[in-house]
Symmetry: C2
Subunit: 107 residues, 2 copies
């Protein structure tokens, strides 16, 4: 329950930034937002950092940092393939977090 509190806060902090919100929305529907990748399937593996960096217009380290924040909140997962790291949204985790949040506010 205290653990719950911490995690809800980390989710809220992760979402309370437009750039991260944008990235998460893109990652939830990667084929709509990113070109196909040579190594790694957009849907199965996720989107590589470079593609996100190109699209969002921030430096690569800043993007890596935002992705870490999303990962800390368990909203995205990452996997390494060769020397790429692919980030993938966890839709279930996102929706569960919101359900959880909502339950705090219902009577």
């Amino acid at each position: 329950m205290d653990d719950q509190t911490v995690s809800t806060q980390s989710v809220l902090r992760a979402l309370a930034n437009e750039k991260r919100m944008q990235m998460l929305e893109w990652l939830l529907d990667p084929t709509a937002h990113f070109p196909a990748q040579r190594d790694g399937d957009l849907v199965d593996d996720g989107v590589c950092v470079g593609a996100i960096t190109d699209k969002i217009g921030l430096s690569q380290p800043t993007v890596t940092n935002h992705l870490r924040t999303l990962a800390d909140a368990k909203l995205v997962t990452s996997r390494q393939i060769k020397n790429w790291v692919f980030y993938k949204a966890d839709r279930t985790a996102v929706l569960d977090a919101l359900t959880n949040l909502r339950s705090r506010f219902e009577t």
Copy 2:
């Protein structure tokens, strides 16, 4: 829609702080968390700043500031009676904001 974006962010920023989350939860069920007030009904009028200040253990100006953040996000409303200001949670606004947020993440 851009307006929507801004407002979603203000809601998320408002909730992404434990003290404000706490206050909002209290304000959603005031009778469970605050003693009856002489001037102003807890449910109908809301909770006065002083009562919130006593309970949360922050200075009065800090509490006023947090309440403003919640009010900017439209999660609470305020009304003045005599020289008290009563803050009241807007449950509908809270739930609508979450519904709205969720709709961004559904397929």
